[in-house]
Amino acid sequence: MNPSATASEPLPRAVRPRTWLTTKQAPAIVGGLLVVAWLVVLVTHKSQLQPTLLGVDTGALIAAVALSATLTYRGSGVVNFSVAAMAMYASFIFYDLWQFGAIFFPPPFGTLTLVTPPPGSFGSQPPAMGVWWAFVGTLCICAVMGLLFHLLIFRPLRNAPALAKVAASIGLYLVLFAIIQVRFPSSSGYSFPSLLPTGTWSIGGVVVPKDQGILVGMVVVVAAVLWAIFRYTRFGLATRAAAENQRGALILGYNPNLLAMINWVASTVLVGAFGLFLASIQTTIDPYQITLLIVPALAAALVGRFRSFPVVVIVALVFGATQQWILAISVQTWFPSWLTSQGSALQGLPTLIPFLVILAVLFFRGERLPSRGSEAALRMPKASEPRFVLVPMLVILATVIACSFAFDASWRFALEISVIAAVLCASLTVLTGFMGQVSLMQMTIGGVSAFVLSKFADAHHIPFPFGAIIAAGAGMLIGLLAAVPALRIRGVNLAIATLAAGVVIEQFVYFLPIFRTGYSQQSQANVAPPSIFGFKFGPGNWSGWIPDPAFPVFCALVLGLVIWSVVAVRRSRLGRRMLAVRSNERAAAAAGVNVAGTKLIAFAISAFIAGIGGTLFAYSISGVDTTTFSSVNSLLLIAIAYLGGIAVWEGAVISGLLFQAGIFATFLANIVHVNVNYAVYIAGIGLILASINNQEGISGTVRDTLARFGRRATPPAAPTPRVAPAGSQVRPPSPTAVGPD
C-alpha cells in the first residue's frame, strides 16, 4: 500500500488502539439490542407472537428481494430498484402459463402479443397445465429475462456511474409495472394455486402455517448457500474480486461479464421463485404493493452493506414480521389513537420502520464530503445556460391558449395535465439538473401540498393565491426534511432514502387524522376552485366547457412563472454554486461555497415548485386523488424528466407532454388506440435508453440537431449555441462501480 514501506525503515506505529465501541459500531449494537428486546417481548407475549408469525411470508419475500438485490449488486455493481417488480412480474407469467398455457411478450414484439397454444392442446378449460410445470416454465422465462436484462441494459452500463444504473433499473421497474397493467388491468381477481403443503404445525402452543414456515426455511437456506458460495467457492471469490476491481479480475483470467451475467440470472430466478411462492400462499397478488416491497428490501440490503447475506435476511425477516406485529399491538389501549383507523393501526404505519432504519444507517455511515479517492465521478447532463427564454415561453403560452379553446374535452384535460406535469418536472430541473441530487418523492411532496390546500387553506377559507402558497410552503417543509439526510448522503443512497420517504408519505402520512378530519374517504378531500376578485378559473366554471379552458391557461401562466424562476436561478450566483457543488463538492467547499446550504436551498426551491404542481393537480379535479400522488408516479416523473432533458427548462416542458394522462398518453389512446399504460411503458424504455446512450434527453437531441442544421445552413458567422461536443466525448474513464457504501 505505502510504497515507502518497501524500504527498511519501520512502519509508522499505530496510534489509536481499537476501542470496544466506536461511533460506527454503536448504531449496529443499538439496533441489535432493539431486535433482541423485541424478540423477548414477542416470546413472553403469546398474544403478540401468534399474529406476528402469520406475517412471516411477506418477510420471506422481502428477504428474497433483498438477497436478490444484494446478489445483483455484488455481481454487477447495480443497485436494482426493479427486483420486487420482477417478483410481481414472475407471478403473473406463472398465472398466464398455468391458466392458459400462454406467454405474454411486450412490445416491440407486437403490442403485447399473447402467445397462446393452439386450441385443444391443453384441454379447453383452464388451468392449462400442472402447477409445477408452470412453475418450472416461469423460472426458465425468469432466467431468460435475467439474461436479457444483463445483456441489453446493464452490460452496456457496466462502466457507467452508479446513478445511471439506478436510473436504468427505475426504467425497468416502470416497464415491468406497465406491462402488467396492460395485461392484467384489474389488480385483483386472480386466484393462485397452492404450491406448498397447507396445514399447520403447532409448536409450544403457537400455530405456524406449514407453507409460511417452509418459505422462511427456504429463504434462510438460500441465504446460507449464497453465503457459502461467496465464501468458499472459486466463483464467489471471482465475483468478489471482480466487484473490487474489474480489470484486475480480468487479468487473473476471470470474465467479469460472465460473472455478472450468472449473478443476474441467479438473482432473477431467485426473486421470481419467491414471488410465485408468496402469491401461492396468499392466493392473490397486488402488483402495486409487491413492487413497493423494494423499500424494506433495500433497507435490509443497506444494513448488510449490500454484502452480508445473513444480515440481509435477518433484517428483512424482522421487517416482514413487524408489519403484522404492529397490527397486533395496535388493539392495545396504550396505542396512540391517532395512529389507528377503525380500531387497528394505519396500514402504512409499518413502512415507517424500514424508512427510519434507512435514515439511521445512511446518517451514521454517510460522509459529509466525499473524501480523496472516493470521488463519485457522476456524469450529469449538461446544464447549458439558457439563452432564449421569453420568446419560446410566449409561443408556448399562445399555443396553450389556442389549444385550450380548440381542443375537445379529453384533449383539453390532457393539455392541462401536461402543463401541470411540466411544473413538477421543473422542480426536478432545479434539484437533479442543477444540483445533481436525486429525489424519488416529488409527486408525494405535491400530494402533501394538495392535502394542505384542501384540509388547511380551504378549510380556513384562505383566499386563492395565499392558500396555494401556504400549501406549496408545506411541500417545501417536507422537501427540507428530505434534505437533512441529503447533507450527508448522495447519489444512490439518496435515491433509496427519498423513495422510502415517498412510500411513507403515500401509505402513512396521507392517512393521518389531520388529512382525514371530517372525511372517511380520501377522495372527499375537496378543493375549491381558484379565483381572484370573483373571477373563477377553476376547471369547471364555464357551463358546457369541462374542463374550463381558463384553467389550462391559468396553469400555463403558472408554468411560465415557474420556468422564469428556474431560469433566473440558473443565471444567478446560486445557480453557479449549485453547478459547482454538482460537479465537485470538495472543490466547491474549498472555493468557499457552503455545500450544505446550497443543497438545502435547492431542495427547498424544488419542493416548493413540486408543491405548486400538487396544488394545481388538486385544483384540476377539485379534490385530492392520492393515486396521482403515488410513489410510482414519482418514479414516472423522474423518468420523463430525464427523457425530456433534466437540466434545461425546455426539457421540463417536453417532459410534461409525456406524463400519465398527458398529451402523449391521450395521443396513444385516441389516435393510436392502444392502452394508455403504454405511455408509462415508453417512458420506462426511454429512461433506460437515455441512461445508456443519451444523457441530454429529447431537448438535448433537438438542440444538437438544430445546431448541426444551423451550422450547415449558415457558415461560421452564425452564433450557434454552445453545444460543444466536448461535453459528451471528453471524459475521463470512470472508476469501477462507486458503491452505495
Binding site: A7, L369, S583
Partner: protein, 260 residues
C-alpha cells in the same frame, strides 16, 4: 506572528500516522515549499490544514485556531469557513467545476470580485483567452492553470498548491514557477507542494522536507540542497520514486491506508 502556524499536526488513517507531529509556519507574502517522497504526507498535510481530513494538533490561521479549542476534531472548522477566512487551495487533479465555463469557475470562488479582476488573473497565468471556454475542452496543463486562477479568485491570504506543476512539460513548469513567485511577491502567501525539486528549490523562500509524515529537514533552499538527511531520504535511496511523474500514484499511496 505568522499567517499560518501549524503545531503538532497529526493525521491518522486507521492505525498509521500519515502526518506525525508536523510544525510549519507560513508568513505573509512568503513562498514556502513542502517536499518529500511519495507517501510522505504532503497532500495529507494540506488536506488537514484546509479541513478535508480529520486531524489533531493546532492550526492557527490569521490568529484564529482552526482546529477548535482543544484540538478535538469535532470542533474543527469546516472547509468552507476556512476558505472564507482566506485559505485557498488547489488540487492535484485540478478538480475544476466541469459544468461551468472557465470564467464561471472563477466567479464561484470569488463572488464579490469584479469580472475585470477575474480576467486579469487569467491573463496573468496566460490563460486569458480561455475565459469563455468550457472546462471540458481544456488540456490537462490548462486545467491546472485555471485551478490556480480559481484559487486566487477570492483574493485569499494563503494559497496551498498541491502539485500545480505535475503533468506539465518543463517550459510550462518554468513559466508556472515564475507566476507562483509573482503571486507571492504580490502579497499572497503560498504553500507549495511539488515533486519537481528544481522548481521548489528554485523559487521558494523556505522549504520543509517531509518523510514518513515527519519533518526531517527545514531551511533555505541552499541548506536543503546540502542536507544529508534529505539527500538520503529523498534523492538518494528513493531517487526513482522522486522521479515518478504520475501524480495519481502519490494520491493512491496516501489513501491506501484505512479509508474504508
Amino acid at each position: 506572528m505568522s499567517l499560518l502556524e501549524i503545531r503538532g499536526l497529526r493525521v491518522a488513517f486507521g492505525g498509521s500516522l500519515a502526518v506525525d507531529d508536523v510544525d510549519l509556519d507560513v508568513d505573509e507574502g512568503r513562498l514556502i515549499g513542502l517536499i518529500g517522497p511519495n507517501g510522505a504526507g504532503k497532500t495529507t498535510t494540506i488536506d488537514a490544514v484546509t479541513g478535508f481530513v480529520p486531524s489533531t494538533g493546532s492550526v492557527r490561521f490569521k490568529d484564529v485556531e482552526l482546529q477548535g479549542r482543544h484540538g478535538r476534531r469535532q470542533r474543527s472548522m469546516p472547509p468552507v469557513r476556512r476558505a472564507n477566512l482566506g485559505l485557498a487551495r488547489t488540487w492535484q487533479g485540478a478538480d475544476l467545476f466541469v459544468d461551468l465555463s472557465v470564467l464561471d469557475n472563477l466567479r464561484v470562488a470569488g463572488e464579490r470580485t469584479p469580472d475585470a479582476e477575474h480576467h486579469a488573473i487569467l491573463d496573468s497565468l496566460g490563460v486569458g483567452e480561455l475565459a469563455a471556454a468550457s472546462v471540458q475542452s481544456l488540456s490537462h496543463g490548462q486545467r491546472k492553470l485555471v485551478g490556480v486562477a480559481r484559487a486566487l479568485a477570492g483574493h485569499p491570504a494563503l494559497v496551498c498548491m498541491d502539485e500545480p506543476a505535475a503533468g506539465l512539460d518543463s517550459s510550462e513548469s518554468g513559466f508556472l514557477g515564475h507566476r507562483i513567485r509573482a503571486i507571492a511577491d504580490g502579497g499572497t502567501a503560498v504553500l507549495l507542494i511539488d515533486h519537481d525539486m528544481g522548481l521548489v528549490l528554485g523559487i521558494c523562500d523556505y522549504v520543509y522536507v517531509l518523510d514518513f509524515g515527519k519533518v526531517i529537514a527545514r531551511g533555505r533552499p541552499a541548506e536543503i540542497r546540502a542536507d544529508q538527511l534529505v539527500l538520503d531520504a529523498y534523492l538518494g535511496k528513493r531517487h526513482a520514486a522522486a522521479q515518478d511523474p504520475d501524480p495519481a500514484s502519490e494520491g493512491a499511496a496516501g489513501d491506501g491506508v484505512g479509508q474504508r
